[in-house]
Amino acid sequence: MIEPLLFVLLLALAVAILKLKDLFAIAMLSGAFSLVSAGLFTLMDAVDVAFTEAAVGAGFTTVLFLGTLAVTANTERQQPFRLGPLLVVLVVGAVLIWAGLDAPLYGDPTAPVHTHLGAEFIGRAPSEIDMPNIVTAVLASYRGYDTMGETAVIFTAGVGVMLLLGGRKGRDLDEEDQD
């Protein structure tokens, strides 16, 4: 019932982001956009998706944008109007909307996700795994090895980025200490 109003708010945020030229304000507003969409996901009962959106979109990406702003310019340059990118965006948008038409309606009980394995997991999880949240049961137990592999990949990526970005600064500090 509140969802349409929130979609209007998201649209207003997106238009504001498009219209503004101050990149600092845009970084802040994109964080707000992510947090509002995370709230929308929560109200639509997709708590796990909402958590990812809030952590990545509102927390991490804002910090990343600001870190980029610190080493680049603060205002957007006025670009001349170009027809090619506009056409690409319009075509991709039309394809996405066309693909979205095939998706089942929100809350449709006959959607494919509810008619195949979903019902079986809902039936089996409470007795097989003593966990109140079925999504957590699937993530941590039924596909536990997959989740462990994912975590290893993300950990490796994080260590790689830390070595790339933080390694040089550490050496500089060591050299200063020796001087």
Partner: protein, 97 residues
Amino acid sequence: MLSAAMVGVVVTMMLALVRATAGPTVFDRVLAVNMIGTKTILLICIGGFAAGRPDFVDLALVYGLVNFTGMVALVKFCRFGNLASDQPEEAGAQEVL
């Protein structure tokens, strides 16, 4: 009652968005965006109680932490001009303000 509260919160968010877009100084924008985040948290709380699921308050707390992280980064950028040091950069800090 709770529905009216939710509509009121969303209207407040819209007003804060107007301030964030128009805001002449950077402080107006930081305050307005922080307010949008706080109202999102409030909205999740009210939505949880309206749906009869008070455990949404726990989720709202985590969103509060995430919002706070973003805000700390924002004000640090405002004050120092970058995120890495605790010393203000002469050029950067002036440029943002």
